[in-house]
Amino acid sequence: MSKDAIVIERIFDAPIEDIWKMWTQPEYFQKWYGPKGFTIPVAEINLSVGGKRRICMASPDGNMKMWTTGEHLEISSTERLVYTESMSDEEGNILSPAEMGMPEGYPVKTEITVSLESLGEGTKMVLTHAGLPADSPGASGWNQAFDKLEEYLNK
């Protein structure tokens, strides 16, 4: 894996248990994941080490669907979640980035680490997405998703 990584730090006005739930329970993950306007029609999160993930992200007009798959590497409730993410087809077969029309050097497998720290009423979250350059479109995707998460928590 390359040294590239997106690192984003956020403080949410919600207890750590809630943020953990937002990341690990499909029905909550679907509420905020994806860039602004995008929806998550499918989210399967098998929350065990080695357990698979299968996520579908749909564009705002619903015309474009992108599937990703991955595997959980580390689960320390409610503080640390590590999983891999790769582009895949609907059945969860990994697709090569070239096949998806991605630029050369785009990694087949990326790794996401979520670290949560309780601040009492609030929670500090550090997201590290290893394998993607800090200034790649994926970074703004994450930021938009966290804006959505914040909005959802404030409802």
Binding site: G34, P35, F38, S59, N63, M64, M66, T68, E85, S86, M87, D89, L95, P97, E99, M100, G101, M102, T110, H129, L132, P137, G138, A139, G141, W142, A145
Partner: protein
């Protein structure tokens, strides 16, 4: 967040799907009528999974529709994306038409010259 193709417009996806001779050959075959994956694979010295991958790429670009019946899943061509390419090309038509005009002018000049020489 992995965001494949989301920054890409649909046209890029169509062009990238067409940027492979095997996939163009698959489309050409489907232009003659529907075919199963097995039938599509026949002319190629390629494994079935490899062909399936190419079909998936064409499917994602909207160029192929694959039937849902489990055993027999015929593929059919969908030309809508090709129409999009055609309308994209249209914006440059005036350029080649202009060169045809110039050719007309040149031929006319030649004809006039010949008549004079007669």
């Amino acid at each position: 967040m992995i965001m494949a193709n989301y920054n890409d417009d649909q046209l890029s996806q169509i062009f990238s799907a067409l940027a492979h001779s095997t996939r163009r050959a698959i489309l050409a075959r489907l232009a003659e009528g529907e075919a199963t994956v097995n039938e599509l694979a026949e002319p190629f010295d390629m494994s079935l999974p490899a062909i399936s991958k190419h079909i998936k790429v064409l499917e994602r670009a909207g160029l192929i529709i694959q039937g849902q019946k489990a055993q027999y899943r015929p593929c059919t061509i969908d030309v809508t994306p090709l129409q999009e390419i055609s309308s994209w090309t249209e914006q440059y038509r005036h350029i080649w038409e202009r060169s045809f005009d110039r050719m007309d002018d040149y031929i006319n000049q030649l004809n006039t010259k010949e008549k004079k020489d007669e």
